[in-house]
């Protein structure tokens, strides 16, 4: 094997403020060889991004490198060697919207980057910039376009072109696809792999997603709480993990590979054997439709002569959920998942069609106060971000108690308080947490509080809108397990909304695939993953990174 291009030796980073010293990175050593993709994986706070920043010299007080060195091509690089940093080693960030200057055309930005690093004339730089754009798959005739005219995936391509401009030997990509849809993510990962092969550039891919690691990297380093837990060939690490932490991480990662019958792996949640009880239809969504009027005001339309612009967010969607079952809606951003959830929750009025809960039409305008109250007790919702779904100024006890107060349940104060404690225990929190504020809890615990609140009114249907996408994998596994357990205990019906096929495959009894507001396919997970009918569904399944795919590239 050739000499490593980049070597991180015993790198330690500490956070130092007055007497408070915290170790952020603890003696990390890592070698990167030319032309390979090395994955850095770990949960939030593991020190992945910090490792990337240290290599680029982006460590500022109160953070400081307390020991170790970064060796590039056999030479140790010092704090401010601009020659290496930015030209020999460049960076691709997570959010392409923030890393591009919105006021300048992409061509301008490329030329500027090229000319700061390479001694080149303007005309020459322009030709080079266009060749770079071509390489990342952008038509050179979009050279003078501004960042906002590009989609998320295209922007990330531009960012990659910018990173490539100085002809770097190493690219550090920090969660480059986290903000993107799966199909776009697959394209960007393909592009990174291609560049790696063709140019011999080494890539350090920082991500939290084990699926991305499995499909893209050759070697992987697993980080936990600032320590390097395990390092090795991706296939070996994923299949024969040595450390307990890696094992836990892998076991927590949901997968649908066992369903595609390509590989035998057990799902981390065993599906309960379907009992042969009578199937009661609980929720039925009939011809549900929602339009959004995006047109300009009337006067503007008359002057500019443009017509109305109507967005069909949801278009004649039908599905049914039996009592005690989970129905999942999957689709990429803009497919209308959340709009459907809002209509089922009664937050948004459908343009046409209706939502029937236990046979009663929830969308009926003439519903009386009492009936509405009953409906509201029966339908609850769990939201995506546990950071935004709890009022930061309220104590946990009051947050959970609010539905009891508002929905006229448990008249006296004492039974209410008892109920709150009971709920906290059901979701695995302690009764002492009543007096705490939301910010005193971690993301997973907050999601448990949200679940407790949703359970307060003893609902029958819970709408879960991406309930775990803001959480780390190991926490995600716990929350999903809790949801499963609660479903069994209270025979809850779930409408589960997610973009993550692997999560959905673990949770759902039936899956509906949404594309641009239309429900294009509906099947049980077993059928959907092994024999999808629609082309779009096939594409989604192929594009979704899955931890079971590590054998594909090696």
């Amino acid at each position: 094997m050739s000499a490593p291009i980049l070597e991180i030796q015993n790198l330690s980073v500490v956070f130092k403020q007055r007497r408070n010293v915290q170790i952020i990175l603890d003696k990390i050593s890592l070698k990167v060889y030319p032309g390979e993709i090395v994955g850095l994986v770990g949960e939030s706070g593991a020190g992945k991004s910090m490792t990337g920043s240290s290599v680029l010299g982006l460590i500022d007080p109160p953070l400081l490198i307390s020991e170790g060195a970064i060796i590039f091509e056999g030479r140790r690089i010092e704090k401010n060697s601009a020659f290496v940093r930015g030209s020999q080693i460049s960076m691709v960030f997570q959010d392409p919207l923030v890393s591009l200057n919105p006021l300048r055309s992409i061509g301008d930005q490329l030329i500027e980057t090229i000319r700061t690093h390479i001694d080149m004339g303007k005309v020459e730089a322009k030709t080079y910039a266009k060749s770079l754009l071509k390489e990342v798959g952008i038509e050179p005739n979009r050279f003078y376009d501004y960042p906002h005219t590009f989609s998320g995936g295209m922007r990330q391509r531009v960012v990659i072109a910018l990173a490539l401009a100085p002809k770097p030997r190493v690219i550090i990509a920090d969660e480059p696809t986290t903000a993107l849809d799966v199909s776009v993510q697959a394209q960007i990962l393909d592009l990174l792999r291609k560049l790696c092969k063709e140019r011999g550039t080494a890539i350090i891919l920082i991500t939290h997603d084990m699926g991305v690691i499995a499909e893209t990297t050759e070697r992987v380093a697993v980080l936990n709480a600032g320590k390097l837990v395990e390092m090795g060939k991706t296939y070996d690490v994923l299949n024969k993990p040595n450390s307990g932490y890696t094992k836990k991480l892998i076991n927590s990662t949901p997968t649908f590979q066992h369903l595609t019958k390509k590989r035998n792996s057990k799902p981390f949640i065993q599906k309960p054997k379907k009992k042969k009880f009578e199937q009661l239809e609980y929720l039925s969504v009939n011809e549900l439709t929602r339009f959004f009027d995006l047109s300009d005001p009337w006067l503007v339309r008359q002057i500019t002569g443009t017509g109305k612009r109507i967005l069909k967010a949801v278009d004649r969607v039908n599905f049914k959920i039996d009592k005690g079952r989970t129905y999942a809606l999957v689709g990429e951003s803009g497919s209308g998942k959340t709009t459907i959830a809002q209509m089922v929750a009664g937050l948004l009025r459908p343009s046409a069609g209706n939502v029937k809960i236990d046979g009663k039409d929830f969308t009926d305008v003439s519903l009386g106060k009492e009936e509405l109250l009953l409906m509201r007790r029966a339908v609850q919702m769990i939201f995506q971000s546990p950071y935004a779904s709890l009022n930061p100024r309220w104590r946990v006890g009051n947050i959970i108690k609010e539905p009891l107060d508002v929905l006229n349940l448990n008249q006296n104060e004492e039974t209410k308080n008892k109920r709150v404690i009971e709920l906290l225990e059901q979701v695995g929190l302690s009764p002492r947490d009543i007096v705490k504020f939301p910010h005193e809890f971690s993301g997973g615990q907050r999601q448990r509080i949200c679940i407790a609140r949703a359970l307060a009114s003893r609902p029958e249907l819970i709408i879960c809108d991406e309930p775990t996408s803001a959480l780390d994998v190991s926490v995600q596994a716990q929350v999903l397990r809790l949801l499963k357990d609660l479903q069994k205990e209270f025979s809850l019906t779930y409408l589960f909304i997610s973009h993550d096929l692997a999560v959905v495959s673990e949770m759902a009894d039936k899956i509906g695939v949404l594309k641009e507001g239309v429900l294009i396919e509906e099947a049980t997970p077993e059928v959907l993953f092994s024999s999808p009918v629609e082309k779009y569904t096939k594409m989604l399944i192929a594009a979704a990174p899955d931890i079971g795919n590590a054998n594909k590239i090696n």
Partner: protein
């Protein structure tokens, strides 16, 4: 350091105003205690007729300046505080409605705010003051003058509150905890007061401190222009107006001491407000 210092100054001024009736050697608002012979006594010098010594001298009426400043502070602080409270209540209510309801109500309230912002707030205050005085029967004008002053300053300062509250409300109302409350079928009023209001109060507190300083200065300006509190109950602004008549005839102290007090008060409130803003901003920590 600066914050602690300014806070100390501010607290001292407040205490001086509260305990004015114990601390002040004279009662300047009681005409029967005044002696015209004491007029124009320089600070710390015995009066040539009566031999009395005054800490900060006296004004043309023979009022002890130190006592008058202490009592004047009371009026300034009271008017400032009440005006800020009025502006805050008005601004928060209008801002909440504007941000939460949106639509035509939002347009009307915000355009009203825009129109008001095109006039200097002191002009608005004078306008309101003039109209209110004109509408009052003459026998009530004297008694109501402080109330009118408070209303006119309060009405001229609500816009910053409303704009900030509207902005924060727009951010908060999109968050899922509001959606969650809406799902329970809570009334809009409850959502606004129970959920949104507690989460937008910190910028309001900062604006309140800064507006407090502005209101005190506005009161001083109005009184200086002669449309504020009556001369029989002088506030800091009234004292400064009296003082500037005698500035060039050598009686400098009548102007200097009230002006310095006003400066110390406004400056300390502003510095305290800056500190409060930093404290309440999580990004700076």
């Amino acid at each position: 350091m600066l914050a602690i210092g300014s806070f100390f100054v501010f607290i001292t001024i407040i205490l001086l105003a509260i305990f004015a009736n114990y601390l002040a050697p004279y009662t300047p608002f009681d005409p029967s205690t005044l002696n015209l012979m004491n007029g124009f006594t320089p600070p710390m010098e015995p009066n040539e007729f009566t031999g009395q010594v005054f800490l900060m001298g006296t004004d043309d009426q023979g009022r002890d300046l130190f006592s008058t400043i202490l009592y004047g502070l009371r009026i300034s602080l009271f008017v400032g505080l009440m005006a800020v409270l009025l502006a805050m209540v008005l601004g928060v209510i209008l801002g909440l409605i504007s941000g939460f309801s949106g639509g035509w109500l939002d347009i009307i309230i915000m355009r009203l705010a825009d129109i008001q912002m095109t006039f200097p707030s002191i002009l608005v205050a004078m306008l309101v003051y003039g109209v209110a005085r004109g509408m009052l029967p003459p026998e009530l004008r004297y008694e109501m003058s402080i109330t009118v002053l408070i209303i006119s300053i309060g009405l001229s300062e609500w816009v910053p509150f409303a704009r900030t509250v509207r902005g924060s409300t727009l951010v908060e109302k999109e968050k899922d905890y509001i959606t969650s409350a809406r799902m329970l079928g809570l009334k809009r009023f409850s959502i606004m007061t129970r959920h949104i209001l507690p989460n937008i109060l910190s910028p309001v507190l900062v604006i309140a401190t800064i507006t407090f300083a502005l209101a005190i200065i506005a009161e001083a300006t109005l009184s200086f222009l002669g449309v504020g509190v009556p001369t029989t109950k002088p506030s800091l602004g009234t004292l400064i107006r009296i003082g500037q008549d005698f500035l060039f005839s050598g009686e400098w102290w009548i102007l200097l001491f009230p002006a310095l007090t006003l400066l110390a008060l406004a400056l300390s409130i502003n510095l305290f407000g800056d500190w409060l803003r930093d404290m309440l901003n999580p990004k700076i920590h």
